[in-house]
């Protein structure tokens, strides 16, 4: 890889262009491979597409850029503390809108830190909600057949383990 390259341009699934620094892209193995592809490719004009929509990609890149210095060089405990606080703020987003895009993008891009963070955030949001509240907020359709529904209803008391 040429050391002169500091950032690459990628396309979102919506076709928008984004720049991501080389050090930030290292947080994701697939992005890193893509980077190497671009740098070694004969056809350097080709802009790779990341199958993540623009709105999500902005957030993913923001996360990568913030976490890159620590991931690449290691950092002190106070930095880690600061980063944790930043993560919490970062995840204060409209849940219906983007959290699950981020979860899927983190899964797709093999970004363990972001993936864990998104899972934890989703779990925290669901704590204390009833099934019908969760269905409504996260647009989850009930896809059980009526027999399954009946079976679940019967099983449920035993399922509370008390």
């Amino acid at each position: 890889m040429s050391s002169s390259v500091e950032a690459i341009t990628v396309l979102s699934s919506d076709g928008d262009e984004f720049k991501i620094t080389v050090s930030a892209a290292k947080l994701s193995k697939p992005l890193n491979w893509m980077l190497e592809d671009v740098c070694f490719s004969d056809d350097c004009d080709e802009v790779p597409t990341i199958e993540v929509n623009s709105k999500t990609l902005v957030k993913v890149i923001e996360y990568c850029e913030k976490h890159a210095p620590r991931a690449n060089s290691g950092a002190s405990d106070s930095d880690a503390e600061e980063l944790k606080k930043w993560d919490i703020e970062f995840m204060k987003m409209d849940v219906k809108d983007i959290l699950f895009h981020i979860l899927m993008a983190a899964n797709y891009l093999h970004m363990e830190g972001l993936y864990d963070l998104a899972c934890q955030t989703a779990a925290d949001l669901m704590k204390g909600m009833t099934v019908s509240q969760i269905r409504k907020i996260f647009h989850i359709k009930n896809d059980f057949s009526s027999e399954e529904q009946e079976q679940l209803r019967r099983q449920h008391p035993g399922c509370s383990f008390d």
């Binding site: 699934s13 697939p30 790779p48 597409t49 199958e51 993540v52 929509n53 999500t56 983007i98 699950f100 895009h101 979860l103 899927m104 993008a105 983190a106 899964n107 797709y108 093999h110 363990e112 993936y115 864990d116 899972c119 934890q120 989703a122 779990a123 925290d124 669901m126 704590k127 099934v131 969760i134 269905r135 996260f138 647009h139 989850i140 359709k141 009930n142 896809d143 059980f144 679940l152 449920h156 399922c159 509370s160 383990f161 008390d162």
Partner: protein, 290 residues
């Protein structure tokens, strides 16, 4: 768990949109949902299994339940069950451990607290060593629905009151509190209503009873208190002990005594000894009576 189907997505540069425009949890692969469920407690996991098929599938994932089981659960399984099918999933193992499992010919019950996965244990009055228990002038075993063991030891009257117990069990690491479940007076049902016979109650207001607890690794505690509230089951806190290593058995000895022989005492039901994780005292109000 990550990267399910990544290579195909990645290769498909010009293919259809992989992240859908209207996302919902339905679109998440089961492995992602399982990862989310892993952050929730067992009761919540079961609740969320009712959402849809993906959630139901994820709620059975072994790795979700592995983290809810006590670290030494394989030792517990050997201790509690004689033969357990080998192919049981972790969720099923969890469910079995949450049942009130019987040990030592029915004199003990052991189970996991369903919402925290912490171990609880109870010892029947028949599993305790009670001074004078075979003398009908002092003590009687009486059947009752008010005991988990369907029997309690009832003290009519005695000079030397002593209840001892000893236990060796592979407790998971943690801090535990030991309680005696006691009742002043003798309850019964009359025409479907609960009535309490208080006629034998005496002597408990003169001197306090003493609780003692010790472990094989040198922990010990002692406390005393007056028995109170006739007609009500009360959990008396006898002391706490700490288990450092969940893979070795912990030996615990405990006693309840009132051996001032200048007066008799009587009219007391002894049901059981309970050992709960200390943290449950915060959530179980009945443990904070004494």
């Amino acid at each position: 768990m990550m990267g399910i189907g990544f290579s195909s997505m990645f290769a498909d540069r010009n293919g259809s949109q992989i992240v859908p425009s209207k996302p919902s949890l339905v679109d998440l692969p089961e492995s992602c949902v399982a990862e989310i469920l892993g952050y929730l407690n067992p009761t919540q996991i079961c609740e969320l299994a009712r959402l849809n098929r993906t959630f139901r599938g994820a709620s059975w994932a072994d790795f979700v339940w592995e983290s809810k089981l006590p670290p030494n659960y394989d030792v517990l399984l050997r201790e509690i069950f004689d033969d357990l099918p080998r192919d049981l999933g972790k969720r099923e193992i969890y469910a079995r451990l949450c049942r009130k499992n019987t040990l030592d010919e029915g004199s003990k019950k052991v189970w996991l607290d369903g919402s925290t996965g912490k171990l609880c244990l109870s010892i029947s009055s028949k599993g305790l060593s009670i001074t004078g228990i075979d003398d009908r002038r002092y003590w009687n075993h009486i059947p009752t629905e008010e005991s988990r063991f369907h029997t309690v030891a009832y003290l009519q009257q005695i000079w030397w009151f002593e209840v001892d117990g000893e236990l060796e069990f592979p407790f998971p690491a943690g801090t535990y509190s030991l309680f005696f479940r006691l009742h002043l007076g003798r309850a019964s049902k009359r025409f479907g209503r609960r009535v309490c016979n208080t006629e034998h109650i005496h002597g408990w207001d003169i001197k306090p009873v003493r609780f003692q607890l010790s472990t094989s690794d040198g922990q010990s505690s002692s406390s005393q208190c007056f028995l109170k509230e006739p007609g009500k089951w009360v959990f008396y806190h006898a002391g706490d002990f700490v288990v450092q290593n969940g893979n070795a058995s912990t030996r615990v000895k405990f006693s309840l005594t009132q051996i001032d022989c200048t007066h008799t005492k009587g009219g007391l039901c002894v049901d059981s000894v309970l050992i709960y994780p200390s943290e449950l005292r915060k959530v179980k109000a009945f443990l904070n009576c004494s």
